[in-house]
Every structure is written in C-alpha cells, then in structure tokens.
Amino acid sequence: MSVSKESIAIEIKDIKKHFKEVKAVDGVSLKIRKGELFSILGPNGAGKTTLVRMLTTILTPTAGDANVNGHSILTGKKEIVKKIGVCPQVITIYEVLKAEENVEFIAIMHGMTRKEAKEKTRKILEDFGIAGRKDWSKRFSGGMQRRLNLAMSLVFEPEILFLDEPTAGLDPQARRLVWDYIRDLKNRDITIILMTHDMVEADSLSDRIAFIDQGKIIAEGTPTELKEKYGSDNALEVSFLEQEDLEIVRDNIKNIPFVVNWNESSRKERNTLLISFQGGLKNLMKLLQQGFIDSIDEVENIKFRQNSLEDVFLNLTGKRLRD
C-alpha cells in the first residue's frame, strides 16, 4: 500500500547495528504512519530495543538511516528529541523526588515554563491516579512507579511515543488503566511505537505489528492479517462424561466443511475430543449448534483456544516469544 510522505511518522531505511560480530539489527526497513499504534514484537535479544535506541537517537546505526518526524537520526537529533517521548522498560525516576517534582522536571527539560509545567503535571497525575501523593516516589508501589514512569514520558505531549513494556509488572486493574490511556493517546493522533511481550496487549491495541527475530523483520501486518496468514486454526477441546457422547459428536462434525481435523484421546478416564476448525467466532457457534446442542445433553469440560499472535510467532520461528 502506498502512503504519502506527509502521513509517515517514521521511515526506516535498511538500518543496521552491529556490535563487533553480533548483528543486533540487520537491515530493517519499515514505514510507520502518523497516528498509528505500531507494535514491535520479538523475543529477548531479537533487536527490538537496539532498533528503538537508534530511532530515539541514543545509538548511531552501523549502516542505513531512519527519518523520525521528517528528520534523519544521523543529522537531526536536536529536532527529533523535541518531539519524541520515551518510556523505558526499566522504571527510571528520581526516587527521592515526589511524583510532581519528577514530572515537572521532565516538563521543564522540554522547555515548558514553570507555570505550564505545573499545570500539565497536575493534569497528567490526575489522569494516572497519582495526584496528591506528597511522599518520595521510592515509597510508591511498583504499579504507581510504572504509571509515574509513563506520565513522565507524556507530560510534554510528544508527537511520537516509544513505549517499552509499559504494563510490565502491573496488576490487571492498573494495566487496564494504562491501556485506556494508550487508546486515548491514539485518538489524539499520537504515533505510538509499542514494544511488548504481552500478546493480548499487542493484539488489542495495535493497528499494525512487526515481528522481529535475529535482527530482521520476519512479518508485518495488522493483527488480523498476521493471524490469517501465519496463524494456526482455532481449536475446541471438549471432555465428555460418556464415551458414547464423544462418538456422537465425532460423527456429527465429520460433515462440517470448516472443521479441519479432530483427535480423540482417553486419559485418566476422561474422553476428550480436540477439534481444529477455520474461521472465527461465527464458525464456533455453528460448530456448537451442529455438533453438540441437538445431540447431547451435557459435557464435562469445554475449552476454546483462539488463533493468537503467539501462534503466528511460533509458526514463523519455531519458538515461543518468551524463549
């Protein structure tokens, strides 16, 4: 798909970073559109952090270049750093400063007046639920420190935001809060580059995703595209109380066109049928209707496993993302 130059936030052109013999990033090219939430997924050591450190002007590439907000990372560092926000994975705050002192400090580093900095700080701390805390930030819980870490990268309203595992270590409630905030940022047309191990997070938030492995981009697309192209079939695992029920269902599904295959197993007195099928939730409903509901009264247990980004990565590389 061709994209006009004005709508590109980041353009990476055959960028490489080698540390002696190690090719951390080895010829990556990408285009990230303005206002897009683009996730970079890959196992530890795949090269995603090195790639982002180059885009944020911390590292100089061995070869290639990238334009961030229209400026080359080789020559336009001064302009780039005015418009980007970086939220590192490791919580990077001044522990003896209060939350508002930490955020205000960052705001002033971005050239805000004290009045502006105070106003923006108050607002963002309220948004993140940490306003009013007057103690040192080292006394905050891990979740609060992580929210502060994120608030510090957002206070100056960057045009491009790099988020490195923004919800690592957060409890489900805090994770939801951060996700909602990220969605809100998307609505404000901020371009977000998200690095995460959390497949659910990437799937639910991203417009597009790139999988990186051994310094190279191995797949790129929307979550749906990737799952359709590289994913596995959906699967339904059903345990029956009676062997007869299993046989009835097995006979029923034989003629359903979207059912790919099935496996029977009887372990520990449990009669289990694993059914792989294509398509989404609509087909799941049809499968339940045609295979089960009209024929049997009860099952012992039922599990649905949806085609996921984890499957995509597994199928592409032969390894799991956390390996």
């Binding site: 003896v96 400063l97 400090f105 580093m109 805000m112």
Partner: protein, 261 residues
C-alpha cells in the same frame, strides 16, 4: 526566561534535593570534616592546628570527587542519563547543573568548616579578606575534585565502583600531598591538593601576598624544614586553576566518550 526555568539550574536543584534529602548522606559527608577537625584540634592544640587546618579544609573539599563520581555513575546506571539523552536537555546543561550543585555542596562544607574552625574553635587567621581568598581557593579546588569525579564516573560501571575508585585515588593523594600532615618530598608537587593547601595556608595563616614566595610545606619557623620555592603564591594559584580546568575538560571528554555509542 525565569532563572528557575533554566535547564542547568533545574538539574542543579534536582541534584541538591537528591543529596540533601538523605539525612545519612548529610550527616556522614558533612560530619566527616567536623570529626577530623575536632580530632586533630584536640591532638595538636590550637597553635599547631592553625597550620593543619587549611590542609584539613582542602582534604574535606576533595570529597567532591566521591560525590560527583557516585552521582554521575548513578545517572548512568539507572538509565536516567539515557532518558535525558532522548530529551532536548543537552549534555552541556547536565554538566553545568552538576557543577553548580557540587559547587553548592562544597561551599556548604567549607562554610561549616570555617564556622567550626574560625568561630567555634577560634583558630587564628590573618583577616576576613584573607579568609575570602581562602574560601575561593577551596571552592576552586573542590571544582577540580568534581572534575576527577566525572573522569571516574566515565570509567566506573556502577556507583559502588565509582566510590571505590574515588577513595582509591583521593586517600593516598591527600597523604602524599602533605595536606593532612607535613610531607617533605618532591612528590607533593605532582599532587593538586598541595598547591591549593599551600596557597590557602600562606594567605590565611601567614598573611602572605600573592607575589610572596611559596614554600615546600607547612613546617615553617627556625626548626622547620619548609624551603622557599622559585614560584610565587600567584603561580601556585595558576597551577590550581590549570588543574581545575584540565580535570573538568578531561572529565567531560572521557564521560562523553564512554557514554556515547
């Protein structure tokens, strides 16, 4: 622009908050000089102690090496330096802010020592003007110590290592410089604290002018071994300034080289 919106000033304020909010840091770093002063004063008595006190002040001022080394190494290892590098902060402001905050801490240390020595313990001195010059020399030397701290932080991988290297450097050098007690040897001329201590001492205790000759040690008088050198106090002061500039510039170069990729 409001002065408080200046990035270097903000960095300095942040650094000072970072140091002064740890009461243990305050007590043990500022209290270190107080402890040494009281110990030496009680051993030597006021008459002899007046010759030791300038060296004591220089010795305490050199703690700026440890403070700066730990502070910069901490920024490096915590990831804050990298975070600041992704902002329009500029390393220039970072160094300037650090110099301002360390100079503030060094000045605070010297003021405490002056009050303890010249006010509480009544250590003799020539005059207020001479004390002002002494204060300036001590601050200048403190800045050179910060420069060495920045060099160390560039090399050290963690604040703990920075602390160890700083101690490894400044403890022997202060003995070799004759700052804590007299040391008659040509080695002293190669150590920055000697020059600062000797100029400070001759101005505040002897009342010498900038164009009087410098001596080799603090052992003056008929039985003393101090020898007149072919250099004036002004020359000694220039050497202190040269050391200060050299250490700061070298510190910035090494730190930049070690933290840019």
């Amino acid at each position: 622009m409001n002065l408080l919106e200046n990035k270097a000033i903000q960095i300095a304020i942040k650094n000072i908050k970072d140091k002064t909010r740890h009461w243990q840091y305050l007590v043990f770093s500022l209290g270190f000089g107080v402890m040494f002063t009281l110990l030496f004063y009680s051993f030597l008595g006021r008459e002899i102690f007046q010759y030791s006190f300038p060296g004591m002040i220089i010795y305490i001022t050199a703690a700026g090496t440890t403070s700066a080394a730990i502070s910069f190494a901490g920024e490096k290892t915590s990831g804050m330096l990298e975070r600041l590098d992704t902002m329009p902060t500029g390393r220039k402001n970072l160094f300037l802010g650090a110099l301002l905050s360390e100079t503030f801490m060094v000045s605070l240390q010297i003021i405490i020592m002056f009050i303890l020595g010249y006010v509480v313990l009544q250590v003799p001195f020539k005059g207020i003007f001479e004390l002002f010059i002494g204060f300036f020399i001590a601050v200048l030397f403190g800045i050179s110590a910060v420069g060495i701290g920045i060099i160390i932080s560039g090399i050290a991988k963690t604040p703990e290592i920075a602390n160890a290297i700083a101690l490894f450097y400044y403890l022997p050098i202060l003995f070799l410089s004759g700052s804590l007690w007299p040391f008659e040897s040509a080695i002293v001329f190669f150590t920055p604290p000697y020059w600062a201590k000797q100029v400070f001492l001759q101005i505040t205790v002897l009342g010498d002018g900038l164009f009087d000759p410098l001596y080799s040690s603090s052992l003056f008088g008929p039985t003393g071994t101090a020898q007149q050198l072919p250099i004036t106090l002004f020359g000694g002061l220039l050497i202190v300034i040269a050391f200060t500039l050299a250490f700061i510039i070298l510190g910035i170069i090494i730190f930049q080289k070690k933290t840019k990729f």
